[in-house]
């Protein structure tokens, strides 16, 4: 498999604290990589660092699709095909979901044909079992926690990234919704051969997915890299052996 993303010696810090202490990570094209770890290990920081969200200082190298993206702002990484779903999606009062998506697709340099856009949006809303009028509602305002997570997946489906970094996408989803979202992600991956970086604590989202590699993160460092079998061990024994 060809390499899609390679991060080397990745550090992230705030003004007074280093949160990631030199992480190496690789994601190949079409691959599903899982990042697990106990609370506070640095999982979300790693997800945000890969995307380049500007709330930390970073150092280290990141290449994506053969390009050095370490110095690129997150919007440029998004345009190259990276996507981050948020653990806590941000509410933007007054801004309809559909309008945000249309503007974003245009920002990616793609022409939006309104009729086609509406049909696609309706198709994905139905697929995710979201209210058909969700596109007219304000982004992440008055949606339930589970619906907000589905809206993150909706954005992924509409923006069609090569790499989706999904940060705790299953938190807030009930059992049926987690199964549905897992299946939708799998279908998208089958359709596009995209790569997935799944940051998860409770691992429910993995049920429909074929995991290629598992990274265990502890105290801002990768403590262990293994295959899908390692997840079974973690389920049984927690992180004490990882």
């Amino acid at each position: 498999m060809s390499k899609l993303l390679i991060a080397k010696n990745l550090h992230a810090s705030t003004a007074d604290k280093e949160l990631l202490h030199g992480i190496d990570l690789r994601i190949d094209k079409g691959e599903t990589v899982v990042v697990v770890g106990p609370n506070g290990a640095g999982k979300s920081t790693l997800a945000r660092s890969l995307m380049g969200v500007s709330d930390f200082d970073y150092s280290g190298s990141i290449s994506f699709a053969g390009k050095d993206v370490a110095k690129l702002p997150c919007e440029e990484r998004a345009k190259l095909g990276m996507f981050l779903s948020y653990q806590d999606p941000v509410a933007i009062p007054g801004l309809p979901v559909g309008e945000m998506l249309r503007s974003t697709i245009e920002a990616h340099g793609k022409k939006v044909r309104l009729r086609e856009f509406k049909l696609t949006l309706a198709k994905y809303l139905e697929k995710l079992d979201l209210n058909p009028f969700s596109g007219e509602r304000e982004l992440n305002v008055d949606f339930s926690g589970g619906e907000k997570k589905k809206l993150e997946i909706l954005q992924m489906l509409m923006l069609r990234p090569q790499l989706a970094i999904l940060d705790e996408i299953d938190s807030g989803l009930d059992v049926d919704a987690a199964r549905l979202v897992s299946r939708v992600i799998r279908e998208y991956q089958d359709e596009t051969n995209c790569s997935l970086a799944i940051v998860t604590h409770n691992m429910r989202i993995l049920q429909s997915l074929n995991v290629d590699r598992v990274y265990v993160i502890r105290d801002g460092l990768i403590s262990c890299v293994g295959d899908v079998g390692m997840l079974e061990d973690i389920r049984k024994h927690g992180f004490k052996n990882a």
């Binding site: 969200v53 997150c74 919007e75 948020y86 941000v90 801004l95 503007s103 974003t104 304000e138």
Partner: protein, 445 residues
Amino acid sequence: MASKTPKGLTPEIVREISARKNEPKWMLEFRLRSLRKYLAMPMPSWGPDLSELDIDNIQSYVKPRKEMVRNWKDVPDDIRQTFEDLGIPEAERAGLAGVGAQFDSELVYHNVKSAVANQGVYYDSIENAMHSKYRGMVHRYFMQLVPPEDHKFAALHGAVWSGGSFVYVPPNTSVQFPLQSYFRFNAPGAGQFEHTLIIVDEGADLHFIEGCSAPKYNIANLHAGCVEIFVKKNASVKYSTVENWSKNMYNLNTKRAIVEAGGKMEWVTGSFGSHVSMLYPMAILNGVGASMEYTGVTFAGEGKDLDTGVKVVHLAPRTTSYINAKSLAKDGGKNTFRSLVKVTGRAKNAKSFTDCQSLMLDSKSTSNTVPKFDISCSSADIAHEANVGKISEREINYLRTRGLSEDEARALIVRGFTNDVSKELPFEYAAEMNNLIRLEMQENM
């Protein structure tokens, strides 16, 4: 006769304007009475600084080169091109019941679709109305809601008004498409004083749209128009304005409606331009169950002092008012939201809710909220919410991770903030308003 009156204001100028319009005697007397009031009244001692507005230096009347026409092709080429650029005839074709286009002091074009005229709707210049079968109505209603004694600029308006529209909608008539007046101000150093008089009879409804713009000059221009709306029993009027005056404009406009029992008045306002604005649309709720809604957005960019708001007077039982005001300030702009909710002792069980939100786009701009409540009825239900906020980094970062630049993210967040207003407007005007927001956001970036 010269096409412009001399600068400054004298009884001779007022007589000249009146003579040009071949006005009845009562109107000339009204103008002269207004002039006396104007000369006797002081400048406002509150609100934005008006010290640089030298009214003696303002041209009160500028006549276009041609009389008003009813065929778009007959409008002089350069004036027609100005309105073509503003999309006026296109909007008329797209879905307006009638259009009036004013260039400086006079209407240059006025037309109403035959289907609407056949309903008995009258829409014409106020000058023509004064000589039509509606002359009695003009006499009875003209400046009754906004008398010259109201304030100095109302008196000025009464003395030198010119242009504007008269609308009469007969009882139980629903005007399916909006009527629109567009005011274009092209003469440097001049004043525009159009008068809009709307009477919507019992059980009828109307949507009226007003658009305003002007190019920028180095000397002050003054807009002191006046809008009076009479909403009869169970009638309903929506009055929408998208205003984009240039940065040298003093926009001291007065808008007022009186609403009878069961009637409804809706103000929808987008204020983007002018150097100084003082604009507070008002509704007098005069009959049982009358209501008013105000939805407005004001965007104060660099060098702008926009003092806007709304006033409502509850005079009758079970009257209701809802005020939803949004303001944005950027690049040192100054916004002041000023409101008055007055509930008299007769207005039993009146309800009023004011929601006022301000968004600061940087730390050098100013946003003030000055609400005033004068409640004389113990059964009134009055609520007020206000907040001033900034765009959060979290919101910007969220949109940036989707592929929007920081500026694009800010503009989209602002559009969301103002969506309440744009969704109240017909599509073309919502698009124009969004475009004005985009231009404001781009300025100085």
